[in-house]
Amino acid sequence: MQHRRGALLVALALALSGVFATVVPQPAQALTTEKATARPNEDGGDGVIGGMDTRLTWEGTVEPGEEVTSVTLTLPEGSTFEGSTTRITALEGLKRMDVTGEAVPSGSSITVSFDQAIPEGSLLRLEITNMQFPSAGGECTVTGTYEAAGATHELAPSDPISTIANTPLQSMVNWLDEQPWVEAWNSNQFLGMFLKPQLLLTSFASLAPGWLLCLGIVVAAYPFAIAIGLVFAMLKISRWRVVRAVAVTYINVLRGTPLFLQIYIMFFGLPMLNINIDNNLLGIIVVAINSSAYLAEIFRAGIQSIPQGQYEAASSLGMNYVQTMLTVILPQTVRRVIPTVTSDFITAFKDTSLLSSVGVMELMMFSKNLTTVTGNITPYVAAGIFYLIVTLPLIKVVSVIEENIARSERGAGPRPKRRAQIADNADELVGQAAKKDGVAAEVSAVAAPTASLAPASAKEVATDVC
């Protein structure tokens, strides 16, 4: 009933406006279109996709001496307002007026009639939620009519809203939406909140740039961190007290304060000193400086783990301190610290997440934005998976290297183990052999078979003893 009335009204309005438009080519506008915008509805993107629910916001100003009682908005063919809800806001300056009304959708038009006329000078905003643009996408201009003082007038067309057709990713998401197993999965509150398949899919697609930035930051920062760390490690084991003090201060302050704080100081402090550095570059710098302090300690420990005897040996060969360091100590240190450095790399990679707090567009930032839009935790889980893609192989690498080092420090492969076993019961075997030898000496003439019974081990022991 209401629907039919709405349709009739629209038809009437259109007919009237058509007549009016032909009679008065450029009518004075009583309701000036200010703007029309649409809320981006691309999952993990900022496009407005046709054929999917979104929100249209239309704004217009009522000119002096006029009052508006109803507005009809029309979108290109293929749009639909069916099932939409409309929020009416009328403002005088910043003050909100009490205006309610009724919205009647009809195909690609919607007519909003107000229970009281919108007075002159006010700003009228219509927010229409859950409407759809044409599925083909394209530039959509909002046209329409309005009623003022009993007559219907044409609305000035809005600036076009750019919409796009469905993306392949979005169609996959829409396909998932229809699957019964997905629905069953999501109906479990935990699974639906943390592992929603549709969101997992869009998260992977839209988090990728953030993941690359994370990797980029830490990979770019690390060579610098290693270089700075090595310098401070050398300074810390220096002979001069002042130099040591500088290194100790640097290392302890950086290791003793949260990275979060360091990020804040760098990001908010430097611009105040009129030093403006690109956010990503600043991120690299912060990570490099922070890691360098940890690496300095790792290198210092590595260097000091090399036995004193090596220094003495080197100096007995006539090497000076620099030569000793470069050719004897550091090469051994490198091998020893690789596992710890790799672990620190993993930590640094994860710590890039803190940069999201200052607006670096990295993994967590993307997840946060997605979570914001969707009200779902799944993007964070997707971010976790992205972190694992890097960290799990590295963790494996660390354990392989550690095993290799352990093996080489023991000596070599399994051979020494067998030898050790033999050495353990060597005494026993030697004793047995001696007894046998004694017996053999007594009955040497008839002992040919016994001697042949004396196993090869006796021979081996004999050689060992030799």
Binding site: D46, R87, T89, T129, M193, F267, F268, P271, T372, V373
Partner: protein
């Protein structure tokens, strides 16, 4: 029993309400007959018996923020929800501050907090997730730049490479997305961080609720200004789980009373220096 006794002392409407809550006729001598309200309609469940548990980001002075010296929540909304709880004969307990974008999902899921009071604008999209009480305050958006900024108009700010800071998940964030599509939206945890970034020159502008921006610019960030007052005419409502319609109704009733007896006007005077 304690519940109904306490409520019996307050206004007649509250009496009727309490009667229907507790299902006890003892306190209902008021002139609003209890029978006009269908029994059970105002019945509600609470996370903790006898207290309203409130979720808020506590980062939007002067609406909801933390007192620096005591660490206690304070602000217009804090006073309001305490007054509402008082009307309902309940205690009021604030959860630790949480991120704004997690509040609506938290209320939707239930089990942690009864109400979300964090200058949440009533929008149709949010209304699909949670119920809202009737609006308790009208608001607008404000765009803050440095006082000496060159770009202070929508046209100037809608440029490639311009960074606009917002609080994640707010109506301010979606306003920037829709109206400044060329600018880069930086979603942060709270408006204070956003304005701090504007002050230090990290972002060109920040957009958040106008009362908050006005407060920040006149109290803490005096070298920033509200460059654009964006008329949005939005309204704040208290978010309540859809499974708890009785609580929404009870709070609505309490807000009506506070409106009628001038408490809300008093609070507006106290926190904004004027009735809004």
């Amino acid at each position: 029993m304690k519940l109904s006794c306490r409520v019996a002392g307050s206004l007649a409407v509250a009496c009727a309400l309490a009667v229907t809550i507790s299902g006890c006729g003892g306190g209902g001598q008021g002139d609003v007959p209890a029978a006009t309200e269908p029994a059970g309609e105002a019945a509600y469940t609470l996370v903790e018996d006898g207290q309203i548990t409130v979720a808020s980001d506590l980062a939007n002075a002067p609406l909801d923020f933390v007192d620096e010296t005591t660490g206690e929540p304070q602000g217009f909304e804090v006073d309001l929800i305490y007054a509402v709880a008082d009307r309902l004969g309940l205690e009021c307990e604030y959860l630790p501050a949480m991120k704004f974008d997690t509040i609506v999902p938290l209320i939707e899921q239930g089990g942690k907090a009864d109400v979300g009071v964090s200058n949440i604008t009533i929008t149709d999209a949010r209304a699909e997730q949670v119920d809202f009480t009737e609006p308790y305050l009208d608001s607008n958006q404000g765009l803050v730049t440095r006082a000496d900024a060159a770009a202070t108009t929508e046209e100037a700010l809608n440029a490639e490479g311009t960074k606009i800071a917002v609080q994640a998940g707010t109506t301010g964030a979606s306003w920037v997305e829709e109206n400044l599509p060329n600018a880069e939206v930086v979603a942060l945890d709270d408006p204070v961080v956003a304005v701090t970034g504007v002050q230090t020159g990290l972002y060109a502008a920040a957009v958040a609720d106008l009362p908050v921006m006005q407060y920040l610019c006149s109290n803490s960030f005096t070298d920033c200004q509200v460059a654009i007052e964006i008329p949005t005419g939005e309204q704040y409502g208290i978010a309540v789980s859809k499974d708890n319609p009785g609580l929404t109704k009870a709070i609505d009733g309490a807000i009506d009373e506070l409106e009628a007896d001038g408490t809300i006007a008093e609070l507006e005077q106290k926190w904004f220096g004027a009735e809004l």
